[in-house]
């Protein structure tokens, strides 16, 4: 025991009281949302013109979440992703030879039944819009690692 008994009882109190002056780490979601990084793996976006229907993405997927289906009005087959099975590993993005499949930072994919989790190629071709899912979203938090606070968030309003 390097310190005396009294110090070991009183000192923790001061250390705890110092935390009242730090800013809390809470995000008031859904009014503010943190901006993610370029490599974040979320929902996919498909570029229908670049996709050749080779099927490498379906072959490499560890959970067999991708199946190649036919699309009306186009002659090649394109991938259809079942988000109930997708584990967001990113192998399909990395192994696509034409770079047609990309992953965005969008992670709000929840729904009420399993059928609507299967995204057809036309659904995947649309870019996701965060303001449709969260209509109350007003602020965006940009994270920056700081040596005093851990992470500091800069709050900005969205520009419409």
């Amino acid at each position: 025991m390097s310190k005396s008994l009294v110090t070991r009882v009183i000192n923790p109190l001061f250390q705890v009281l110092k935390h009242t002056i730090r800013t809390p780490m809470t995000h008031k979601y859904p009014f503010e949302r943190q901006r993610a990084y370029p490599r974040t793996r979320g929902r996919h976006v498909l570029d229908l013109d670049k996709c050749t229907g080779c099927g490498v993405c379906a072959w490499i997927c560890p959970n067999k979440a991708i199946t190649m289906v036919e699309v009306e009005g186009r002659e090649l087959t394109h991938p259809q992703i079942d988000y109930g099975r997708c584990c967001f590993c990113g192998f399909c993005v990395e192994y696509c030879p034409r770079g047609a499949l990309k992953e965005t930072e969008f992670v709000e994919i929840a729904s009420y039944d399993r059928k609507s989790l299967i995204y057809s190629p036309l659904d995947l071709a649309k870019e996701p819009d965060i303001h449709q899912i969260l209509p109350e979203l007003k602020y965006e938090l940009e994270p920056a690692i700081d040596s005093k606070l851990g992470i500091k968030y800069v709050r900005r309003r969205f520009k419409k």
């Binding site: 310190k3 008994l5 110090t7 070991r8 009882v9 000192n11 923790p12 250390q15 705890v16 935390h19 780490m25 993610a36 990084y37 370029p38 490599r39 974040t40 793996r41 490499i60 997927c61 560890p62 959970n63 584990c87 967001f88 590993c89 990113g90 192998f91 990395e94 992953e103 994270p143 690692i145 700081d146 040596s147 005093k148 606070l149 851990g150 992470i151």
Partner: protein
């Protein structure tokens, strides 16, 4: 571990009762601990695993070597990249190739950050189990955030990285990673000092954990303790030093060893290991060699058997891989550290008298994870 059937949970003699600290309990995790007690003194502890068994070893037989990384990671929630590393190390040994040096350094950084992420969570749970209203748990959960964000910057995910593949790593460090990582390390060093002040030197915490569950070093070796539990009883064993892998052979670091063997020593070893991990990350960032990050790897692995070991946050994790020449493994057997640590909990009432109030403290000081034990 015996299996206690439902009919056996009846009136015992002498006023004893069997209390199930089961899956729906604030401290138990995803399994059951059956405690035979008379209210204060514990006579027998029985751990009932199997609640979270998912059959990962069988799943891996139907996935190629690259695809097998994904279910392998989800075996344990917290130190995911260590499990990956064991599997990848086994594959690379059978293939006879070695990953390039830059990939080894990046792997080291990921492994050590993962160790920090896992140890903070374990320490938070230890503090909460001593009855401390969850202040400390929330501080540690918040202080992991810089490291989780760094991992997201590097790999794209917060805990299931899928980044270490046979042949190297998947991508290079993004720009600005080194400065941000150094800032995070500086912040975390200060926070570790605050934890030492407010928590490890807190009189009531010491009263609660000193002398509780003392395991002498001979018993620790005999019962198969793993990881920090072994090092807290005075045994100097660390796979990173005994069998170096992934750039540990070129870095200079110490091992954290304590001799007391009680719950306090196990917490102290974990905090010391976090200080050491910060040193390792700093060294690896500064001495990073340049070069390629991946080599091409054939799909089919030549037949053979190999056993590879890795020091995960909970102890030594081993993967025994049997390959038959195709692109899918024939058999993968995983030796999980938490499975061995649970045995320590069961054998403790035989050498020391423990009270019912000590059971959560001991349970959390071994840092077991039911997901790890069940695979």
């Amino acid at each position: 571990m015996s299996v206690i059937r439902v009919e056996e949970i009846e009136e015992l003699e002498g006023g004893l009762m069997r209390v199930r600290i089961g899956p729906q309990h604030p401290i138990s995790g995803q399994g059951t601990i059956i405690v035979t007690t008379d209210g204060e003194i514990v006579y027998e502890i029985d751990v009932d695993i199997g609640y979270s068994h998912r059959g990962i070893e069988k799943i891996l037989e139907n996935r190629t070597y690259l695809q097998g990384i994904v279910p392998m990671e989800r075996m344990v929630m917290l130190d995911t990249s260590h499990v990956d590393m064991a599997y990848v190390r086994a594959i690379e040994e059978l293939l006879g190739i070695e990953a390039p040096p830059r990939a080894q350094y990046i792997r080291t950084i990921i492994l050590e950050m993962n160790r920090i992420i896992s140890h903070t969570y374990a320490l938070g749970l230890l503090a909460e189990s001593t009855g401390w209203f969850p202040a400390f748990f929330l501080w540690t959960t918040g202080d992991r955030e810089p490291f989780l964000e760094l991992m997201e910057m590097l790999t794209g995910a917060r805990w299931s990285y899928s980044f270490i593949i046979p042949g190297g790593v998947r991508a290079d460090l993004p720009s600005g990673f080194k400065e941000k990582a150094l800032k995070a390390i500086e912040y975390f060093r200060e926070r570790l000092d605050v934890y030492m002040d407010a928590w490890m030197e807190n009189a009531l915490f010491e009263v609660r954990t000193r002398g509780v569950g003392v395991i002498p070093s001979s018993k620790a070796i005999e019962w198969g303790a793993a990881g920090p539990n072994l090092r807290a009883s005075g045994v100097r064993y660390d796979t990173r030093k005994n069998e170096p892998y992934a750039a540990y052979g070129e870095l200079d670091f110490k091992i954290a060893v304590e001799t007391a063997g009680d719950a306090y020593a196990r917490g102290a070893v974990r905090i010391q290991e976090m200080y050491i991990s910060l040193d390792i990350i700093q060294q690896a960032l500064e001495n990073m060699p340049s070069g390629p990050i991946k080599v091409n790897v054939p799909q089919r692995v030549p037949p053979g058997e190999v056993y590879s070991r890795v020091e995960s946050a909970r102890g030594e994790l081993g993967v025994y891989l049997v390959s038959d020449g195709t692109d899918k493994p024939y058999r993968v057997k995983i030796s999980a550290p938490s499975f061995r640590n649970f045995f320590l909990l069961e054998m403790l009432p035989t050498i020391q008298e423990i009270k019912f109030a000590d059971v959560p403290v001991l349970y959390m000081s071994f840092d077991p994870w039911f997901l790890d034990a069940d695979r």
